[in-house]
Amino acid sequence: MSNAPSVPMIEVTGLSKRYGSIEAVKEVNFKVDRGEIVGFLGPNGAGKTTCLKIMTCFIPPSAGSVKIAGMDVLEKPKEVRRKFGYLPENAPLYTEMIVYDYLSYIGALRGLSGRKLKTKVGSIAEKVGVSNVLSQIAGTLSKGYRQRVCLAQALIHDPEILILDEPTVGLDPNQVVEIRSLIKTLGEERTVILSSHILPEVLVTCDRLIIIHRGQIVADGTAASLQERMAENPPVILRLASSGDGFGAKIAEALTASGLFASVRQRPVGIASEAEFELVPGSVGDVRSAAVELSASKGWKLLEVRRELLDIEGLFRRLTQE
């Protein structure tokens, strides 16, 4: 949390990764400074996990470079690995091991020993809320506890950087809230990068979002700036009573012909007597009243008009179309 913008904690330059003929990550560039909580957001298969695996020196990049605290992952993998704590996808644990032994084991491999290791296991368990399961066998833990035990493992050596791959996946809503606030607390003194495919989750947890789609970064900014973009120009949904076959196409044609909307798309509704259209406004502005007036003048039976804020799919669609 020094103010000097010296060396970025994570620096990714021109990163690409191919698996055979599939290009999982293409020319990705970003920097993460000390003390930031960054959400790595993207649909499944976007390349998030691949990026994290390269950052943690688990797999090598095909091209480009990753520097952690100024050190290249290919040149100094051992030093790099000392710098971060990593929670891999699905929170892997040794199922037959007792939680206390598991944390001690990872702590020992992280270079702790003796009394220091003991107190560290105790304090970390306290911090992430697993003190009450320390004597349990890891395989018998619930998903929420597994996730937290694995998070404790990532924190045992007080790393400067935390790399968390889908930390809340598979948790129930209460657990999600707990883990989220835990991550926020941890981020006060550390650099955190976490991946997720759930937008609201990263919006509340992270200062900054990096959105990745098909292996490329499509947006990088603060949560607020992103939310603004999502609220900007939302599509209007128009629902009309349908008078039978061919109605939808006819209406869509009329809506397009009106010239009020940048694009018109009919959406399936599953009810034969109704038809729904997605109207994207051409320029910034509210087209709801225009849609109502148009319906009235054409004599269409209006059932519903509403604005639709973008969900993650909509956001990806918008970001990737631009």
Binding site: C57, R81, P88, L93, Y94, T95, E96, M97, Y105, L109
Partner: protein, 238 residues
């Protein structure tokens, strides 16, 4: 080196957190005991020697030790803990050596439980402890070679069963290669004997500790561990 010790200790302890270790040791002791007392009629022969013991155990090891080594790497891959381990500041060679050390501990424990036989011999008669010591040294050497082969096979797959089958097939091939080859072609005897584990082991049971045999087993062990290290590494970096 400290990492190797930490991992070795963890592996050794985790053997005993599942019933498999107890079953394996029990089966081993029962089979060895049956052969010693029932098949070879120890009390009737009036001979204070462990020759029959030393002829049986390595052949049994061919199938026993791959079972001890099979889960060491493959299970980590299946559980996903391998990713965790590989992103700790621990080298690939340290991972392999740690696993090897844990398995070696298990082998030592198994062999320690058989020390009751030399004890009985010592109480009842006057055995040649030199030959017995040589035999045990041979068992440790051939056992660690089988374990190293087992770990190598375990590093190739994420299935314990596949690791076991590969390990047992390779181990038996190396152990019985002289009998297999010479059955087809008598001329291959010299080569076969040189490569065969059983012929190198034979000298130890006669109380002859030949440097060539020691070096042979140590070399094969080191080779298998190096291959295991590269296998782990190639998975990481491809």
């Amino acid at each position: 080196m400290r990492n190797v010790w930490v991992m070795g200790k963890k592996e050794f302890i985790s053997y005993f957190s599942s019933p498999i270790a107890y079953v394996a040791i029990t089966v081993f002791l029962v089979v060895v005991g049956m052969k010693f007392f029932v098949v070879d009629k120890f009390f009737d022969t009036g001979e204070a020697s462990l020759r029959s013991f030393f002829s049986l155990v390595p052949a049994f090891f061919v199938f026993y030790l791959p079972a001890i080594a099979m889960r060491l790497v493959s299970e980590e891959k299946r559980l996903g803990t391998f990713e965790l381990l590989a992103t700790l500041p621990v080298g690939d060679a340290e991972i392999v050596l740690g696993k090897f050390l844990g398995a070696l501990g298990f082998l030592a424990k198994t062999l320690a439980l058989t020390l009751v036989y030399p004890l009985i011999l010592g109480l009842l008669g006057d055995p040649d402890f030199g030959a017995i010591g040589g035999g045990y040294l041979g068992l440790v050497l051939i056992g660690s070679t089988f374990l190293a082969i087992g770990i190598m096979c375990s590093a190739w797959t994420n299935s314990q069963i596949v690791a076991y089958i590969l390990g047992a097939v390779l181990s038996s091939l190396f152990y019985f290669i002289d009998s297999i080859l010479t059955a087809f072609w008598e001329g291959a005897r010299r080569v076969a004997e040189y490569a065969s584990f059983s012929s190198h082991f034979g000298n130890f049971t006669r109380g002859v500790v030949d440097t060539r045999d020691v070096v042979f087993f140590l070399t094969v062990t080191a080779l298998a561990l190096v291959v295991a290290t590269f296998s782990i590494n190639s998975r990481r970096w491809n």
